[in-house]
Symmetry: none
Subunit: 219 residues, 2 copies
DNA sequence: GCGCGCCTGTCACCGTGGTGTCACCGGGGG
DNA sequence: CCCCCGGTGACACCACGGTGACAGGCGCGC
């Protein structure tokens, strides 16, 4: 398992790296956000152990770009002040786990290992088109690095369209796939949902309309 | 699977080509963007492995023209500086995957193979005649590389004619196949639709008229 | 238990583009 | 020479999709 540790406090970074290596993991270390982004672009990691307060590029931004990468890499956030509010904020960025300092070392190892297992299982299923990336397993969607806040139905429709990249889906087909069988065949909810999706996706437009033929992304 | 490698750094190009050939792929190599565009015009490739920084025509432009071709060819972008920003930019051009240098060779092979599968899945159901190609699943039609903007009925008629390549279809037959059963048998809509189709298809004319016998493409 | 907010679905309205009709024209064959 | 078939251009209709506003419902937090 490949792990990247991003931590500016050198002593701590070294200690964490050594501990994880003793568990049989391949560990790289970065001291700031810039280095971290470079390392992440150069190789795929299963887990990133990420200090939130970094010099230069902030940990939150690193986290965002990892998630936007959409290759299933998991993020374990470390932070000094362990308020619940911060925890929530970190998870909102797409972090997969959170650990307030000071932490029990055994717990860190256990969590990294757990995230590694999830990473291995989650590598393939990330849908991408242009600057849009959608992870059905995590229910996250990003456009140009910005996280999209989508409702369940909106997310389902977007997922359907991306799974049929380049091919149009009629309102009826979307209704079948994203709603349950009890859906009223005469409902207008599909067009409304598509509309809200379009607003949230922003510019430039991604969803084409084929008059009389449905909606499409790509092609 | 046919692969085109576009890379000006000769040693690297040769190494990549050799590696892919060992995997059983048919590989061609170009050293610059000009050659690449020529090769792409001359033959259909499943995947293009494309260096972003090319002498002459830039990799981005090559990528754009491949995507515009609309024949399902997939693009794997290679780039030296592996920033996330660049990654996003590359995908925004319509590239299907992205790999920052230096890359793991096994990963390159795996990604090319994955793209090849996607390409193969997208290719088969395409109707072609001369410089016209129609993809019913995607509801797309191209003439000489230019995309045609067709209405549902126009598209349906074109599809019928192509499925009966070389054989004529009477107005009645077209009415049966492209309109629903409630169609007025005395309507003149077929000839109007064929006319609009002809205009959109442009020159040289593709649809022949057999006086008293219907319309035909090919033969 | 209560209230607030978000997601969802409905409705009415409107702009528009695809579609069908019509009248006219041109040419080839009987 | 006439007639019929098909090409051509203009026009009108209408259904489809976009848009905005509103209401019900569910969950969450207080």
């Amino acid at each position: 398992m490949r792990v990247l540790v991003v931590e500016d406090y050198e002593i701590l970074a070294a200690a964490v790296a050594m501990g994880l290596r003793r568990e049989g993991m391949a560990v790289d270390v970065c001291a700031d956000g810039e280095q971290a982004l470079e390392a992440l672009a150069a190789a795929r990691y299963d887990v990133v152990v990420l200090d939130r307060d970094l010099p230069g590029v902030h940990g939150d931004d690193v986290c965002r770009s990892v998630v936007a990468g959409g290759d299933g890499t998991r993020v374990l956030m470390l932070t000094a002040a362990g308020s619940v509010r911060q925890r929530v904020a970190g998870l909102g960025l797409g972090a997969d786990d959170y650990l307030p300092k000071p932490f029990d070392f055994a717990e860190l190892v256990a969590r990294v290992r757990a995230l590694g297992r999830r990473s291995a299982a989650a590598v393939p299923p990330v849908l991408e088109y242009a600057d849009l990336s959608v992870d059905p397993a995590r229910r996250t969607a990003f456009r140009a690095g910005r996280r999209l806040d989508l409702g369940p139905k909106e997310f389902a429709v977007l997922e359907c369209l991306l799974r049929q990249l380049g091919r149009p889906l009629s309102a009826e087909q979307l209704l079948e796939q994203a709603w349950d069988a009890a859906a009223d065949p005469f409902t207008t909810t599909v067009k409304t949902t598509v509309r809200r999706l379009r607003v949230k996706l922003g510019d430039p437009p991604l969803i084409d309309t084929l008059r009389g033929g449905g909606y499409r992304i790509g092609g």
